[in-house]
C-alpha cells in the first residue's frame, strides 16, 4: 500500500516536471532568422486600437510579401511603459530595429546615442513631404532622430444640440473663437447644473504649453549660448487665466474635472452636464464608440489668439536604433510605411492626422463625418511643442509646473504666485541640467 502511494506520488512528480519542461521548452527563444540569408528587422509598434493594430499588421504583411530578403517582424509595444522598456533594451543591446514612439520621449535616447541620426539616410521624397515644423520636433542638436508621421491637435468636442439651442456662433478653422469669446460662450452655455466646458487637466503642463502658443506663449527662451530659461510672459498668461476665470469666477467650467483625464469627462459630456470638452483629436474614436444613440457631437477648433490657431504637438515618430546593422533596409521599410496612401491608412486607424502633405490631401481626411475636415484644416497650424528639446523639462514639469498649475487652476494661488514658481523654482531646476 505504501509502495503504491509512493509510486503514485512519484508518477505525479514526474508528470509535473514533464509538463513544466514542455511548457518551458515551448516558451524558449527561437532564432532571430538572420542566419538564413535573410535580414529580419524587428518593428516595435505602439498601435493599440483595433483598427490601428490591424493597419500596422497589414502593412507589415504587404512589405513581407514583396520583400522576401528583408523580413519585418511586428513586435507589439505599449505606450504605458515604452520609455522604461526602451531604456533597458538599449542598455542591454536588445532594442528593436525600428522604434515607434513620440517626439517628446526621444530627447534622452537621441542625446544618449541610442538612436540613429537619419538626416543622411532618409529619401528626399520623405524629407520634402513632411513640413519643416514637423521635422523640428525630432531634431536634437544637429541630428534628426525620428520621422514624425502622426499628430493630433487639441480640439473642442461640443454637444451640437446645446450649441444650436444656445444660438452662439459656431466657430470654424477660418473663423475660430478668440479666447475672450470662448469665455463668453462658455458662460452662455452654463446654467441649470450644466457647465459650458470641462477641462480635463490631470496633466496640465502639456495642455497649457501647447495651447498657449496660440497667444504667443513660449515659456522657454533659449539665449545665444543655447541656455534655456523660463519666462512666463503676457502670451503665456492667456490660456491659464481663461481656465482659471471659467472655474473660479464664471463657474462656467467644472472644478471637478481639473484632476481628470480626458476619458473621465466623457460620461458627463454624453449626459449633457458639459457642453464642450477640450480633447486630443483621436478621442473622437472613443466618442464615436461610446456616445449614446442619437447623441449629436461636433469638432470645433481650439480658441485662437494673437498667433491664430497655432498650438504645440508632439507627433508620433518612427526611429531606427543606432545599433542595428541594417539601417539602409530599415529606412527602406520606413519609406514604404510612410508612402502617402499608407500614411493615410495609419492615420485613419489611429484617428489622427498624418504629417505628410500629400497624405493630408486625401479625400478621406476632408469629410465632415466625425470632424475629420476640421482637424485636417488645423494641420498647418501645428508646431513643435515648446518644451520638446529642453533638458530638465521632465523634472521641471513634475516638480514645479504640474503642482503650480494645478493650484492655480483650482484657485489656491494667484497669477503672481504661479509666475514666481514657474520662473524662480523652474529656472533653478533647469540650471542644474545646463551647467
Amino acid at each position: 500500500m505504501r509502495t503504491r502511494t509512493r509510486t503514485r506520488t512519484g508518477t505525479r512528480t514526474a508528470t509535473l516536471f514533464a509538463a513544466l519542461a514542455l511548457l518551458l521548452a515551448g516558451c524558449s527563444p527561437g532564432g532571430d532568422g538572420r542566419d538564413d540569408g535573410r535580414i529580419t528587422l524587428r518593428f516595435q509598434s505602439l498601435a493599440w486600437q483595433e483598427e490601428s493594430v490591424e493597419a500596422n499588421k497589414e502593412l507589415v504583411r504587404e512589405w513581407n510579401a514583396t520583400h522576401p530578403d528583408v523580413r519585418v517582424e511586428y513586435v507589439q509595444g505599449s505606450w504605458d511603459s515604452v520609455h522604461d522598456q526602451l531604456l533597458t533594451s538599449f542598455e542591454g543591446g536588445e532594442a528593436p530595429d525600428i522604434i515607434h514612439d513620440a517626439s517628446d520621449d526621444l530627447a534622452d535616447f537621441a542625446y544618449g546615442g541610442y538612436l540613429a541620426d537619419l538626416s543622411g539616410l532618409l529619401p528626399e521624397r520623405l524629407k520634402s513631404d513632411i513640413p519643416g515644423r514637423s521635422w523640428e520636433t525630432v531634431t536634437f542638436g544637429d541630428g534628426v532622430y525620428g520621422v514624425p508621421f502622426l499628430q493630433e491637435p487639441r480640439v473642442l468636442i461640443a454637444n451640437a444640440d446645446l450649441l444650436r439651442t444656445s444660438g452662439v456662433r459656431v466657430p470654424t478653422p477660418e473663423h475660430p473663437w478668440t479666447w475672450a469669446e470662448f469665455r463668453q460662450v462658455t458662460k452662455r452655455l452654463s446654467g441649470d447644473g450644466r457647465y459650458g466646458v470641462a477641462w480635463p487637466l490631470k496633466e496640465p503642463v502639456s495642455a497649457t504649453l501647447n495651447l498657449s502658443l496660440s497667444s504667443g506663449g513660449r515659456m522657454f527662451h533659449r539665449d545665444a549660448d543655447g541656455k534655456v530659461t523660463v519666462r512666463f510672459e503676457e502670451g503665456d498668461e492667456v490660456m491659464p487665466r481663461t481656465v482659471h476665470d471659467q472655474v473660479g469666477t464664471d463657474r462656467s467650467a467644472s472644478s471637478d474635472t481639473l484632476g481628470s483625464g480626458g476619458s473621465d469627462t466623457l460620461p458627463g459630456f454624453f449626459a449633457g452636464k458639459y457642453a464642450m470638452v477640450p480633447l486630443g483629436f483621436s478621442y473622437r474614436q472613443q466618442i464615436e464608440q461610446q456616445a449614446p444613440e442619437g447623441f449629436d457631437w461636433q469638432v470645433l477648433p481650439a480658441p485662437a489668439g494673437t498667433e491664430g490657431l497655432a498650438q504645440g504637438v508632439s507627433p508620433q515618430t518612427l526611429s531606427i536604433a543606432e545599433d542595428t546593422p541594417y539601417k539602409k533596409e530599415a529606412v527602406a521599410f520606413l519609406d514604404f510605411l510612410l508612402q502617402p496612401d499608407n500614411m493615410v491608412r495609419l492615420a485613419l486607424g489611429d484617428w489622427m492626422l498624418p504629417t505628410g502633405t500629400r497624405a493630408l490631401k486625401d479625400p478621406a481626411l476632408h469629410t465632415d463625418e466625425d470632424g475629420w475636415a476640421t482637424g485636417t484644416a488645423l494641420a498647418g497650424h501645428l508646431r513643435s511643442a515648446p518644451a520638446q528639446s529642453v533638458r530638465g523639462y521632465a523634472e521641471w514639469k513634475d516638480k514645479v509646473a504640474t503642482p503650480a498649475l494645478q493650484e492655480y487652476y483650482s484657485g489656491a494661488i494667484g497669477m503672481a504666485e504661479l509666475r514666481g514658481r514657474l520662473e524662480e523654482d523652474g529656472n533653478l531646476v533647469l540650471a542644474r541640467y545646463q551647467r
Binding site: 518551458l24 524558449s28 454624453f270 478621442y283
Partner: protein, 277 residues
C-alpha cells in the same frame, strides 16, 4: 451578554465592510467586462450590464495573443513555484533546526534582500541574463522569479519547519530511522501544507508580476498576461476599457481557482493528528 452580542455584531459589520472593500474592484471588473462600449460611457453606471455582451472578450482575443500569454504565464509561474519550493525546503530545514550565528545572519540577509526595489536590480539582471542568452525567454524569467520569491518562501517555510516538533524526528530516530528516512517519512508529510502554501505564494507572485516580464520579454509570443494587458492602454493613459476588463478578468481567474482548490489544505491544521494528546 448584550455587550458580547453587540461586539459580535460589530465584528461582523467590520468583516462585511472589509469583504465589500476587497470584492468591489473585482465585481466592478466583471461588470465592466460584459458591458458594451455605450454603457461604459454612461454617467450613471449600473452593476448589472443593461445589455450584456461578449464583444469585449472577442475583441480582446482578436487583438492580443491572450492564450499564448496565458501559457507563458503558466510556465513562468509553475516553474517559479516548483523550483522555489525545491530550493527553499532543504534550506528552511537547515535554518530552522541549526540555530546559530550563521543561521541568524542568513535570516537577516534574507529579510534585508526584500527591501531592494525592482528598479535597482533590473539593469544588472538584464545584463546577466543577456550574457546567459536568457533574454526574451521564459526560463530566464523563471530564474528571476525564483530568486525574487526565494527569500519570502524561505522565511515562510522556516516557520513551518519550526512548528514541526523536533521530538517527532527524535522518536523516529529512536525507532531506527535514518536522517533521510526521517525527513522523507516524518517531516515532509507534516510540512506538506506549508509547502503548498509557499508554492501558492510563489505561483501567484509570478503570475501577477509585471515589471520584470516587461523588461525581459521582448516579443508578443513570449510575453506574459500582465504585459499583454498593457497593450490595451494607449497614449496618455487612454484605455480600451471593455477589452482590458475582459482580459484582466480572465487573467485573474486561474489565481482564484487555484486558491479555491487548495485553500483548505492551507487553513487546515498543520499538525492535526501528528501527536496523540
Amino acid at each position: 451578554m448584550r455587550t458580547s452580542t453587540t461586539a459580535r455584531a460589530g465584528q461582523y459589520a467590520a468583516l462585511l465592510a472589509y469583504l465589500v472593500f476587497l470584492a468591489f474592484p473585482f465585481l466592478w471588473l466583471i461588470s465592466t467586462a460584459f458591458k458594451p462600449a455605450r454603457e461604459l460611457g454612461s454617467l450613471h453606471p449600473t452593476w448589472i450590464p443593461r445589455d450584456p455582451t461578449l464583444d469585449n472578450f472577442r475583441q480582446a482575443f482578436d487583438e492580443q495573443p491572450l492564450l499564448q500569454a496565458a501559457l507563458n504565464s503558466l510556465a513562468a509561474a509553475l516553474g517559479a513555484a516548483v523550483i522555489a519550493v525545491l530550493v527553499a525546503t532543504p534550506m528552511a530545514y537547515v535554518m530552522a533546526r541549526r540555530r546559530g550565528r550563521l543561521g541568524r545572519a542568513v535570516t537577516g540577509w534574507v529579510v534585508v534582500s526584500q527591501a531592494f526595489p525592482f528598479v535597482l536590480l533590473i539593469i544588472p539582471l538584464f545584463l546577466v541574463l543577456k550574457n546567459l542568452g536568457l533574454i526574451n525567454s521564459v526560463p530566464g524569467l523563471v530564474m528571476v522569479y525564483v530568486v525574487w520569491s526565494l527569500p519570502f518562501a524561505l522565511w515562510m517555510l522556516t516557520g513551518y519547519v519550526r512548528a514541526v516538533p523536533a521530538e517527532l524526528e527524535e522518536a523516529a530516530a529512536v525507532d531506527g530511522a535514518g536522517r533521510l528516512r526521517t525527513l522523507v517519512s516524518v517531516t515532509a508529510p507534516l510540512l506538506a501544507p506549508g509547502i503548498v502554501a509557499t508554492a501558492l505564494f510563489a505561483f501567484i507572485t509570478a503570475w501577477n508580476e509585471f515589471f520584470f516580464a516587461l523588461i525581459l520579454l521582448k516579443t508578443p509570443e513570449r510575453q506574459t498576461l500582465p504585459v499583454i494587458l498593457t497593450h490595451f492602454i494607449g497614449a496618455e493613459g487612454v484605455a480600451d476599457l471593455g477589452p482590458l476588463a475582459a482580459a484582466a478578468f480572465l487573467a485573474t481567474l486561474p489565481s482564484l481557482v487555484i486558491f479555491a482548490l487548495i485553500q483548505r489544505r492551507i487553513t487546515g491544521g498543520m499538525l492535526a493528528g501528528a501527536v496523540k494528546s
